[in-house]
Symmetry: C2
Subunit: 305 residues, 2 copies
């Protein structure tokens, strides 16, 4: 029998999305100074990329209204890419002025969720992203994140052909990095592998990453399925924070520490210091009510014995 | 590329161990009458087996001191096996008097954990189990659960050769059903697949099941690895309750509802009614402080939208 845990990729890139996706839904505002301290603590861990904030309407996501100040205040570590989400031209201008290293555009594969999240049809958002891409220098790093590719709280199953159609267009624009997001947190590992295989069969190829929420407790198993396919870029959030305000039932992202500890034990290099990551998680815990982490209570339980 | 999520087993047996492993560590005593109601609610779900209690020293595990009354009080559904853990001759006699359908003996693959858990060396416990097996009728259903096969809070990694040596002896006694337990909750999916492959390479064959705790958030991924090997019997606990009093840091079992919902979505039959399972979980929640379930808060989040 073929061992599906042999010949996995030797190393992965973990994109820390906590400061953006993890915090955007928190009820209490994390003071800007604390945000800066926390992002600096994450920088020290060795992440290749940190999603620092979103340049969105501050009325829609009040937590991230200080994106400008956070970008201005953080110490940038060479080798780490500091990215931000951008929904429109105004956000793009602010992000460029803030010196963001990489712009992440986003669209939903579900018509209803795109309407709830961005207030537009998929076609309108696609046209906007296409126009925005023409405004930026060819050297600027770009990612497009496609949410709800594995299911939608409003529409249920999302047709795979619709996902494929969106991806084809985004690839045709010249975008090289696309993240497939399970915003609702319902994908099974088998579903993830099948989607990746389907896209490959359809000759839809890109630098795909996975962004999995852990609402149903399946996110780590989903990452493993992605690894088995050959995916090496995964979004996670420190402490497992997160949840989309427009995806009812959705819980937090896969906790960074849960993934890092598991992969390192499997011999897969993450490039992240486990000690510094726990230090950052302990700092974060002082600012938020509850971390959805397995490793932190586990390690504490071991120490207290 | 071979799809490791195709050709998975079509059906699995889920052993509900909540009433035994899930509850044994709870600080508050669940009244016997409530236990009976909860076991009856589990019976209605369609489990092939429910681990109802342990016939152990009531001073060691006060929660399960009412094993006799629970067995006497429950309504037995045809097709469901009602099992119990037994550590010694006294427990065996009580279990047989209570009409237990299946006896589960247990031993740890870690010398230190066996000493902490049972107060004996591995060799002493092995000798005891061998003697007990000779006392029971050949028609009585038997399982032996071997704990800490993937790691130990006292000893760290447990040598695979020691695990293999124990299993060989147990199989030589004629025991046909053996459960490999990750009592500490640290096994990676790769480690699980590798152990199963190693045992097969060594020609150590049995009806193996997996009993995984979710301390590190890896239990569901571990079940998938077991399925990919061909394992079809998994222990889970309603609400993800549990944790061994003698395994510092260990958290609860994999939540039954998290596994059932995931496998059913993957087209793997569990034989369990998802509706009745959620009803049982809601009942359980009234008796305990906190369920470590993903599906219950997820489904509630979806309903409340």
């Amino acid at each position: 029998m073929v061992n599906p845990y042999q010949n996995l990729p030797e190393a992965v890139t973990i994109v820390e999305v906590g400061p953006r996706d993890g915090w955007q839904n928190l009820p209490e505002f994390i003071p800007t100074e604390q945000k800066i301290i926390l992002v600096n603590a994450l920088s020290a861990c060795g992440f290749a990329e940190i999603e620092v904030s979103s340049f969105v309407n501050p009325r829609a996501i009040p937590q991230l209204r200080d994106a400008n100040q956070v970008f201005a205040g953080i110490d940038r570590v060479p080798g780490t890419v500091y990215s931000a989400l951008v929904p429109n031209q105004r956000g793009l201008q602010q992000a460029l002025a803030a010196g963001v290293d990489k712009i992440a555009f986003f669209i939903s594969a579900s018509e209803t969720h795109n309407q709830e999240n961005i207030g537009q049809s998929i076609a309108e958002t696609m046209a906007d992203i296409e126009a925005l891409l023409k405004m930026v220098s060819a050297s600027l790093r770009i990612r497009v994140s496609v949410s709800n590719v594995f299911g939608c709280p409003y529409e249920g199953k999302v047709p795979i052909a619709r996902v494929a159609g969106l991806l084809e267009k985004i690839i045709a624009w010249g975008v090289e990095e696309i993240t497939l997001c399970d915003t609702w947190g319902v994908a099974t590992p088998g579903q993830i592998f099948s989607l990746l295989q389907y896209l490959d069969d359809q000759d839809i190829k890109s630098d795909f990453g996975l962004h999995l929420h852990d609402s149903s407790g399946r996110a780590l198993a989903g990452v493993i399925a992605g690894l088995q396919w050959g995916i090496t870029r995964f979004d996670t959030a420190l402490g497992g924070l997160g949840g989309c305000p427009f995806a009812p039932g959705a819980a937090g992202n896969l906790a960074t520490e849960d993934l890092v500890f598991c992969l390192e034990e499997m011999g897969i290099k993450t490039g992240i210091s486990q000690d510094l990551l726990l230090q950052a998680a302990n700092m974060l815990e002082k600012n938020v009510d509850h971390l959805a982490s397995h490793m932190i209570p586990f390690l504490r339980g071991c120490q207290s014995s």
